[in-house]
Amino acid sequence: MKKYASIIYISLIFAVLYIPIATVILFSFNSENNTAEFMGFSLRWYIELFRSEDAWIALRNTIILAVSSSLLATVIGTAAAEGIYRMRSKLVKTAITSVTNIPMMNPDIVTGMSMMLFFAAIMGIFAIRDYNSIGFLAMLISHTTFCLPYVILSVLPRINELGNSLSEAALDLGCTPIQAFFKVKLPNILPGVISGMVMAFTLSLDDFVISYFVGPTNFQTLPLLIYSMTKKTVKPDMYALSTIIIISVFILLFISNMRSFKKNPEPRKIKKKVGGAR
């Protein structure tokens, strides 16, 4: 009896969580321009989307941005994690990790605002007239900045766990410190590095708020496109786009979880952003 009650309770909550998403997916196949009544199955919104140049450009931009910012964040973040691990002074360590975590704790609307003001100031200092000329750079810097704490947070525990003994053994056997890092340490912290990178990639892909503040007019990403689509009356073409994004994120998550299921009985815990309107 109690068991059934639990099952019903769980089903109810997951139904509430998933029905809206299912609805979006369903109505993306609607044959008519109607988001309330399902008239018949068709792929016309997908075809329309595929023909839309805006969508393709936004997709391209989103991927370029996500790849470059997650790579940059991974390189800087992994190096930083190694550096932080080697720091002797506790005070310096705490200071650096606290500053690093600011973009994670801070409301992203504030991060977005501060970034926007920062680039406005940069334009003033360097007498740059056209924001679009530094627009991509601004987006790259902003995205890398909010991805960095997640990379560090995912790599640092691995480095701490690994300890110093392997690196010392490598040095002892004739590695230079740099060889010791690449030949011995990196292969052993790789799972952390990769999960940090995947997380950074997903966060960048998903970000709306910060892009909304920083984004130039000539560099639109998918979340920005969705937002602009909803400014007008919502049409199923936006649903089609959302469906594609939802499915991609699901697949990405599924793959990365499968890996952790196989490798680790216990999935690694990483603090996701404290909430977050992205």
């Binding site: 392997l166 053994a169 490598a170 040095l171 002892d172 056997l173 590695c175 030949k183």
Partner: protein, 372 residues
Amino acid sequence: MAKLIELVGISKSYDGEKVIDSMNLYIRDKEFITLLGPSGCGKTTTLRIIGGFETADEGKLYFDGVEISDVPAHKRQVNTVFQKYALFPHLNVYENIAFPLRLKKVKENEIRERVTEMLKMVALVGFENKSVSTLSGGQQQRVAIARALISHPRVLLLDEPLGALDLKLRKDMQVELKNIQQAIGITFVYVTHDQEEALSMSDTVVVMADGEIQQIGTPTDIYNEPKNAFVADFIGESNIVDGVMLADKKVRFASHTFDCVDGGYAKNEAVDVVVRPEDIDVVSPEAGMLTGLVTSVTFKGVHYEIIVDIKGFKWMIQSTDYVAPEATIGIYIEPDAIHIMKKSKYSGMFGDYSSFSDEIDQLSDADTAEEF
């Protein structure tokens, strides 16, 4: 044999606490030398300074006559077997052993040859493709040794390498390590807190305490002629009592004057007197130089361990003959069983068995953890 490594006035502190205090030590070529001491005595730090993982705050380190104080670890002709082996989990047994050769870009067939030779030496032929994480502790140990030896270092540093193994395996590995050392004829610097291990393997034992060297000598010297109360207590069992040198070869302790074989002390100089428990004979009270009351008797297999209260001081005696608890017995000590030591800062801290219990002894044995 020539001096291969020399430490001159080495000091090291962590957070203002001195771990090694102006230490001088030389290590000869091809010898098996052991740094022996309790946790926190500075032995591992000494080893890490030789290996290049720590830099001394003061003092100089010479290798084959050349100063290497500032030479980084990877440029030293010294390799290490680490406490927890530090095998590379992402490489299999073969690649772990081949690692140093790959760094030097040695040709593939030479690598194969040398790795095979090493595997033979440590009896791990057939394990080439195994993942190191599937090996037992003893096997991991052998891989670590093979990996450290493959680039033909002149010195092998071993940091409590047998600490994680069980007793039986430890004994076997002691013999094996000694054989390897003799076969390849290089210097081994071995760190341990286990006195039995140190005595059975080493050519030279360096006893350390509180960041200072207490005594350097052969295992026999260290056991028979301990320099102070710390060494006497740390190596084997010892009764250590206060005595006074009346003249050369005459010492008075426990209100009795004994003949001994030591001399060279000032008249009436206060000294520490060491008598090993196995050197005391149990005799009848009338025939005894001293008499006392047996407070406990423990059967130890080879012998009985008898605690005797002699005028308030508890002596330990190891005897093959049984005596009953509560009995009054006499004890007899041969002159050459009495060892005289100068007073030191350790005087009065050790050598009384009044609070002795097996449990405490075992606890301190199990405490294999070293700070660094």
